[in-house]
């Protein structure tokens, strides 16, 4: 290596793509990487459920009612003889899709509105901020329950209810980040060369506020999975006989003395999924925050 090669190498290291740097940092965090692997595995299990589930999740059998875990039924069977493992695998579909879809709704609605409030300011900001305050003043689950109840019990309505309830957090976060980014030199520069507002907002502000949104999205998925399980537990989410972790727990509560395994596995599945998204969110926060070394 010649001396002349050094400056360019140093410059290359300095200009490392922020995403590459974030990935490098994330890879160093064992907890976050384990969580990422679990999340990917859970998604695969949910997608592949029809092929890997040992039994039909809705097939009842009077000869296998409330059997404890065995070689034939690893997680035992439920009150009408359905295989708990198969129901957990299929239940992952409801939980994960609820997590992803409702956060998708929240991001899809919250980010543009937050960007608008932060960038436009004035009365638009004042009105949106008051609505956000008002929505955040109603406790999360209570608002989700009220919305789900008024919309009618079904998995898709539960997703909408959770998505709408999670939206204000994204509006507030995006607005705050936009306010910060708006006064940065690169935005001033983009404005000075005559870019239209929409272009500045979408091309210059938005990409720079993605990291905190990504962290929030990961934590929001964890919250949405718990919320979906809670709504299903109350009977406002996935409707029987379709399996969902929350409704399985609801049934299991009635048989806790005779068949505790019915309660253990679905709860553990929720815990495991939520833990993974929480850990991933924490890891992303550490990896994406430039102030964090």
């Amino acid at each position: 290596m010649t001396v002349a090669a050094l400056p360019t190498q140093a410059a290359a290291a300095h200009e490392e793509n922020p995403w590459a740097r974030a990935w490098r940092r994330l890879k160093r965090r064992k907890g976050a990487m384990a969580a990422l692997i679990v999340v990917v595995a859970l998604i695969l299990l949910a997608v592949l459920a029809p092929w890997i589930a040992p039994y039909d999740p809705t097939a009842t059998s009077f000869t296998t009612v409330r059997k404890p875990p065995s070689w034939a039924h690893w997680f035992g069977t439920d009150e009408v003889g359905r295989d708990v493992l198969s129901r957990i695998l299929f239940g992952a579909r409801a939980s994960l899709s609820a997590g992803l879809v409702s956060v998708g709704i929240a991001v899809g609605a919250g980010v543009p509105l937050g960007l608008l409030a932060g960038y436009a300011g004035g009365w638009i900001d004042a009105v949106l901020s008051r609505v956000v305050d008002a929505m955040l003043a109603i406790p999360f689950l209570i608002l989700a329950i009220a919305l789900a109840a008024f919309l009618g019990p079904s998995l898709s309505n539960a997703m909408i209810a959770i998505g709408v309830t999670a939206t204000p957090v994204f509006i507030r976060l995006t607005r705050g980040q936009t306010l910060g980014a708006k006064v940065e030199d690169y935005v001033e520069a983009a404005r000075a060369v005559g870019n239209p507002h929409w272009r500045i907002a979408l091309r210059h502000v938005l990409p720079n506020i993605v990291p905190p949104l990504l962290v929030q999205a990961s934590l929001a998925i964890a919250g949405a999975i718990i919320a979906e399980a809670a709504l299903s537990f109350l009977g406002l989410g996935q409707q029987p006989p379709a399996p969902s972790w929350g409704s399985m727990l609801n049934t299991a509560q009635r048989f806790i003395a005779q068949a505790p395994w019915m309660a253990f596995w679905p709860g553990f599945a929720i815990f495991f999924a939520v833990l993974s998204f929480n850990l991933l969110g924490d890891g992303l926060r550490d990896a994406l925050d430039p102030r964090h070394k």
Binding site: A134, I138, I145, L147, F150, A230, F233, A252, F271
Partner: protein, 313 residues
């Protein structure tokens, strides 16, 4: 200070108005004719017309909203169609139950979360810190309805120490009351303890790095005194204000916890009303809950001002 208070109070008004609009608007989401739902089996057009007139369903929505707000402002939250009593009296009956539960949960959360946060900050990057962080992750990730069921299995079904469900009023028999509420309070406090631990840890870490803590150490003070007197006192300010905000989490959590332990509180009232399509109760409960939450937010801001001399001005 006065200017701040006035400004803060004025800010609440639009928030409350929008909250009331949102809550009222929920009813408009209802599929079908509310009069038909209220009438139940009854399909007599005369009865339906009477219901419409009585509940002003024949009026435009803004007029209905106006009458609803007028009622709310005079303490009339409407009438429960199922329980045939006023929503205000239902709230007055159920709220103390949930407040007892929330208060006990708060005590448990403070008792566990704050010491855990202090230890984890003082013993940063030691097994103590890792254990406290694991505990926080557990608390944040455990669905409280699962924890409730597991506790019922352990303490009621297997060991037989505590009743699995039911509620006894504090005034009736305090021992029985505590026995019926200790498990739900623990379930409810678990997640809050985790949040508190994280808040305390980061506030303590920040305080431990400040000049006044270095000065206290340089004076030769005992480490315990430095931690408990100098760092902790300053670190507690943000933690206490965040506590008020976390109260909303407790109210949300109470919905499921009360359901599992069959505790006749606020949370159970809302769920039962949801299933019986008793919308006046749902609206009333949501309104009361958010008003409590908004007031606590205000109190937190005032408390923050009072303990932080730099903001008093």
């Amino acid at each position: 200070m006065l200017a701040f208070l006035t400004q803060r109070l004025l800010q609440i008004i639009p928030t409350l108005i929008i909250v009331s609009m949102l809550i009222f608007g929920l009813q408009q989401l209802l599929p079908g004719d509310p009069a038909l739902i209220m009438a139940g089996e009854e399909r007599d057009p005369k009865v339906l017309a009477e219901i419409r007139e009585q509940y002003r369903l024949d009026q435009p929505i803004p007029v209905q909203y106006f009458y609803w707000v007028k009622g709310v402002l005079t303490g009339n939250l409407g009438e429960s169609m199922r329980l045939k009593s006023s929503v205000s009296s239902l709230v007055a009956e159920k709220l103390p139950v949930t407040l007892q539960l929330a208060f006990m949960a708060l005590l448990i959360a403070i008792g566990v979360g704050i010491p855990a946060g202090i230890v984890s900050a003082v013993k940063k990057e030691t097994p103590w810190d890792y254990a406290a962080n694991l505990f926080a992750l557990w608390g944040l990730s455990t669905p409280n309805f699962w924890l409730g069921i597991l506790m019922i299995f352990l303490f009621s079904v297997t060991l037989g120490w505590l009743p699995a469900s039911g509620y006894v009023r504090l005034g009736e028999d305090w021992k029985a009351s505590l026995a019926t509420t200790v498990m739900p309070a623990f379930v409810l406090g678990n997640a809050l303890a985790a949040v508190l631990m994280r808040h305390t840890r980061s506030a303590m870490l920040q305080a431990m790095g400040t000049d006044y803590v270095r000065t206290a150490r340089a004076k030769g003070l005992h480490e315990n005194r430095v931690v408990l007197k100098h760092a902790l006192r300053n670190a507690m300010t943000p933690v206490i204000t965040l506590l008020a905000l976390d109260f909303g989490t407790l109210l949300s959590g109470a919905v499921l916890t009360e359901q599992i332990f069959s505790i006749p509180g606020f949370g159970k009232l809302i769920v039962d009303s949801v299933f019986n399509r008793d919308y006046a109760v749902v609206q009333g409960v949501v309104l009361v809950t958010s008003s409590i939450y908004i007031s606590l937010n205000l109190l937190a801001d005032i408390a923050y001002m009072l303990v932080n001399p730099r903001l008093r001005g």
